[in-house]
């Protein structure tokens, strides 16, 4: 059986009186693809931020490959080999595509190896025509693709993606899906996503969040067919 790469134990995050994430326990095996879904304010993104160290959970613990990482700094978690992409596309705007991806590869390689790695990733994502272009001048979809390249360049064994398909065209979403499926040959992938069509195309296990708690966890088709989930998404009382 594949090893567990990500585990949370009773993860809870409170902001004052608001319980954004309430006693969430997740378990992810190596090379597993997992989508976190739920209506706005369900706690997906907060949970995501707790995983990558941007927030320190009020209670509960996070384990990555068996090592407790609760309260670690984001750079320490990333240093373990975790690739992270935030919801708002976050890249180094004033720098070229190549420099952006080089920097991600540089963390785990020396300068020259990082350059080769960046070249390789750029070819893989078909970014060749814009290698030297400044990120600030690129279209949204291209920026998202570059950010995916930044994640890939570090050769992660765990990838955390917050809404990777947001604001992309149909074709771009399709290409994004291909890249993500390819990622799962080497890494476990956690995706926070709204776009149900995209999630269905990935055909993965889905964890449904509602009011900070895990509502259910099952294959996407069974989750979609579930009347409670439908109610939650339509805003009815669950």
């Amino acid at each position: 059986m594949a090893e567990t790469v990500l585990e949370t134990e009773g993860l809870t995050m409170r902001f004052g009186g608001v319980v954004a994430v309430d006693n969430v326990s997740l378990k992810l095996k190596a090379r597993e693809l997992r989508c976190l879904i739920g209506p706005n304010g369900a706690g997906k993104s907060t949970c995501f931020k707790c995983l990558c160290g941007l927030l320190t959970p009020t209670e509960g613990r996070v384990f990555l490959r068996g090592e407790e990482t609760t309260g670690w700094e984001p750079h320490q978690i990333a240093s373990l080999g975790v690739g992270i992409k935030m919801q708002v596309s976050s890249v180094m705007d004033g720098l070229s595509v190549h420099e952006n991806i080089w920097m991600a590869a540089r963390r785990f390689n020396d300068t020259d190896a990082a350059r080769r790695k960046a070249d390789e990733v750029i070819e893989r994502l078909a970014l060749g025509a814009i290698t030297r272009a400044e990120l600030g001048r690129l279209a949204h979809g291209e920026r998202q693709r570059v950010e995916l390249g930044i994640v890939l360049a570090a050769d992660p064994w765990l990838v955390l993606l917050d809404e990777p398909a947001a604001g992309m065209t149909g074709e771009e979403v399709e290409r994004m899906g291909d890249v993500i499926r390819e990622m799962t040959s080497t890494a476990a992938v956690v995706i926070v996503e709204h776009d149900m069509q995209f999630i269905r195309s990935l055909a993965s296990t889905v964890t449904v969040f509602h009011r900070g708690r895990v509502l259910m966890e099952d294959h996407v088709d069974r989750v979609m067919a579930d009347p409670v989930v439908r109610d939650v998404y339509l805003g009815k009382q669950a």
Partner: protein
């Protein structure tokens, strides 16, 4: 890549030597030496602010610290080689501690500016209040508002009797600035420098790549302070006196204005800004019609309004325009468009 680097370095050395030999034909070397000390000071802020994104409102603190260290250590050791080294190390060490407190404390940019400003004010007030025989470091009296006169000026290493002053000091200072400039160029080409620029662009992203930005910013801050300290030592040996005004708010503000006018995010810009504006101040200081701070303020406003990128980038653009458009910019403009049409 390596070939291009060599070419760059060679070009800097050639241009540097031409400037070092050519400038004394136009401006008195005594004035030039001061401009070089200021240029080095501007480069120190240009490095941490323009490339590292750390806006330090108290860069003068490190300048003053370097100058005072040079003076105090000079009086105690009766020569200037060790004091020169200490004038680099003491501000760097101070910045390392101060930087660690600020960056590990996760202070935002605004608070960082305020704290560096307050620290230089505290130093200013404290140094001002050190009049009287009670305030001594070894054999050196700090001298309060009057400062410290009469310390040994720069000498040839190992030969305290061979002083470096006048025209020789100009050449020593100018070559030092050239060496510092080359070191900064090398630093910015290294992984450390490239990642520092990444931190300037997007701090959160770089930390999510697994780089410890707090440690990196602290080190960069200390490197900037080291350069400012060296500039302070050159100032001290030039002026042959150090006074608390080195720590003053006006001094810190001027450094920032030099960087903005010269061109932030360039290496040569801050040096150029310091040279032009400090010379302007020197020239205006010889008349009583207009207050020179007024002119400095006016220059800053005009630049922010009309040349926000500063002198150096505009000069570079003018140069490219004269020598004919280069290939690089056009390629940059076409590439994204080609990609869009592909879908």
């Amino acid at each position: 890549m390596v070939g291009a680097a060599h070419k760059d370095f060679a070009l800097i050395v050639i241009l540097g030597v031409v400037l070092i030999l050519g400038l004394p034909l136009m401006v008195d070397t005594h004035v030039l030496t001061l401009l070089i000390a200021y240029g080095m000071l501007a480069l120190s802020l240009g490095l941490i602010w323009g490339f590292g994104g750390v806006l330090c409102f108290g860069q003068a603190a490190f300048f003053g610290l370097g100058a005072y260290t040079f003076a105090v250590a000079g009086i105690n050791f009766n020569e200037s080689t060790l004091p020169l080294i200490l004038a680099v190390l003491v501000p760097a060490g101070f910045a390392l501690v101060l930087g660690a407190l600020m960056f590990y404390g996760r202070l935002g940019d605004v608070y960082l500016a305020v704290i560096t400003l307050v620290v230089s004010l505290i130093l200013f007030r404290w140094i001002n209040s050190t009049a009287g025989p009670d305030y001594t470091i070894g054999a050196a009296r700090l001298g309060g508002f009057n400062g410290i006169p009469g310390f040994p000026i720069l000498n040839v290493p190992g030969r305290p009797d061979l002083m470096i002053w006048g025209e020789t000091l100009y050449f020593v200072a100018a070559v030092s600035l050239l060496i510092v400039f080359l070191l900064v160029t090398w630093l910015l080409r290294s992984s450390f420098g490239r990642i520092a620029v990444g931190i300037r662009e997007n701090e959160e992203r770089v930390s999510l790549l697994g780089f410890d930005i707090r440690a990196r910013k602290t080190v960069l801050f200390a490197i900037g302070a080291a350069i400012a300290g060296l500039a302070g030592a050159f100032y001290a040996t030039w002026a042959e006196v150090v006074t608390p005004t080195l720590f003053s708010l006006q001094q810190s503000a001027e450094i920032i204005i030099w960087c903005i006018v010269g061109g932030l995010g360039t290496r040569f810009g801050p040096i150029l800004g310091a040279g032009v504006l400090a010379y302007l101040k020197f020239a205006l200081g010889q008349q009583n019609m207009i207050d020179n701070m007024f002119v400095l303020g006016l220059v800053l406003v005009l630049f922010v309004l009309f040349l926000p990128r500063g002198l150096a980038p505009e000069l570079a653009r003018g140069w490219h325009w004269i020598t004919g458009a280069r290939r690089k910019p056009t390629r940059r403009n076409h590439a994204p468009r080609a990609e869009v049409s592909n879908g």
